[in-house]
Symmetry: C2
Amino acid sequence: MFDFQIIANEKNARAGLIKTSSGEIKTPVFMPCGTKATVKSLDPDDLKSLNVQVLLGNTYHLHLRPGEKLIKKMGGLHKWMNWNKPILTDSGGFQVFSLGQGQDRALVLKAPKITKEGVEFYSHIDGSSHFLTPEKAIEIQSDLGSDIMMAFDECAPGDSSKSYAKSAMKRTHDWAKRCLTEHARLAKNNSEIGALFPIIQGVTFDDLRIESTKFISDLNTAGIAIGGLSVGEDKNTMYHVLDLIQPYLPQDKPHYLMGVGTPEDLLEGVERGIDMFDCVLPTRFARHGTCWTEYGRINVRNEKFKNLNSPIDDNCSCYACKNFSLSYIRHLFIEKEILGIRLMTLHNLHFLINLMENIRENIINCKFEKFKKSFLAKYLIIKSAD
Amino acid sequence: MFDFQIIANEKNARAGLIKTSSGEIKTPVFMPCGTKATVKSLDPDDLKSLNVQVLLGNTYHLHLRPGEKLIKKMGGLHKWMNWNKPILTDSGGFQVFSLGQGQDRALVLKAPKITKEGVEFYSHIDGSSHFLTPEKAIEIQSDLGSDIMMAFDECAPGDSSKSYAKSAMKRTHDWAKRCLTEHARLAKNNSEIGALFPIIQGVTFDDLRIESTKFISDLNTAGIAIGGLSVGEDKNTMYHVLDLIQPYLPQDKPHYLMGVGTPEDLLEGVERGIDMFDCVLPTRFARHGTCWTEYGRINVRNEKFKNLNSPIDDNCSCYACKNFSLSYIRHLFIEKEILGIRLMTLHNLHFLINLMENIRENIINCKFEKFKKSFLAKYLIIKSAD
């Protein structure tokens, strides 16, 4: 079951409602990453208290460990991780190419081998060889019990040549069609199967992005994803691509911008018609002591917070800000105490989710443009002082 | 403010009630360790949901970082860590001697220098030199805002010679008197100052333990602590010492056995008249994947739990057991996910706190002896099979 309705819009910005068999999602929405079947440092009750509506699971990670068959046997990903709201799963495409390169890892990996059929890649855990195809990616996501699945794609790096970008895009289109076929085949025996979103690619080449948007939009799918952005190109280039493809996106389907999640990118994305976002930044930043405030980004380990008996953000209503001082949270980080990571994760996710709730309300009241300006005017203070 | 009343007893086992200005404590009680102003991986709401009545703070750690003066400035330890129930602080004595030896650490430390006046020791963080005296230990604990303070003691190792054990005990007695004097001096200007417990020492020498028990019991204090046990000697030796000193303990004061906390030790301790316990085991075990069940101790990383779709303990009502399977919790540990540590910490603390609640109820109903037998009969199953 999948349905999408637009409730209100202000220029290209939209407030909508997605319905899945695991529940509703008010859009625009920020979706936290539960990569390995857990949003790092939080439990499901935390997520509910944060008003998380939908979270991500990762096909690549869960396929390698513990394996989708085990999760299926345990009753599916929702039951296993005790999360009864919607789950979106990626297809593994991004990780196959990014983690398969062995960057920043002790294990030096061979590059993945891409053929028409699929991708042979080497596990970042133990170097073992695995083969992922469009059909296999759909099967894994179906076994996990995903509510919103992604088509298997080839995410070409931001600095790719045009000829490589084009061949990766073509393969992504072929694979999207094969994903649809496999999805339709599985749907015959599973009326509860999740929706499938194919992915627009094309690196930052205008003509490729338009070609890909047209191709992907013409497929008969419940939603559309935009991949291969926020992978190293500068922000203005990303905004340019979003401006460029916006007129070609089907307006009656949700638009999901993959892997994007700074506060300013959420605002710029929504303005360009994006309805769904995910990003590891709020949880990753939290583990490094970095958090967002209405005045910009700070790192709580900074010496200047040692004696500060006020919360991270006086106007924030998250659990960390309601209960603890910067002095205490800084101490937890200096002492490498787990509670520090947990409090910062709660704060960062609250910040983005609260921002999205405000954005939605302002779209409904036709005040989004004003809200965006006033938010950014404040938010960029610390940033520009950095 | 400090008051202790015995509500019921069964032979030497007692059910009691402590009153402090931060709230009441039903005894016998297990007190989790919040060494560096946080019970590792948990937040104060977790502790309340676990029915934690009182927790520990560490003078040694908090003195070195961030310093008791900073905590005092922030409103005291309770406010700083957002815990409004009782806090017991140790005196730093144990850590000065155990952490001061540089065991298991990259930093090779000089041994602490003990004089009549106090102890010069070297920080395990950076090797810097510090001097701790009985007076200073009380001042630090007073600055922290402790409800129950410990006298500064010399905790001699379990394998000490008798002559060293005796001189350490004598110093501990002298220091206990100086702590009382300093406590009385500070109490003149602070009617809310916490109670002070002096500490019985004497290693495992019968005559020294009796001598120390008599000396410490004769001091005019609110409670009595028993130190230097569970530091390497075998369990039967510890039980023997407890049996030995029990007749000499003042029956109208609470008896605190320091650093003890396996399920079997809690039962054996209560049987020998102990009212208060603390131990790092439930939180430390949790970080290593070890937990207690009514059938003994298990490690959740064991391969045999990979496919197990049932909780750690079917009869346990903790958050981990009510919501997650062993299969999932094992996965969290294999993936080094923080939630795994958190769930195991919740389980282990629930296990000990629930055990103590059962012990108390059974003492009140004069069924403690029977309860102890039946608990241990089940609990020792896995242990003996290990």
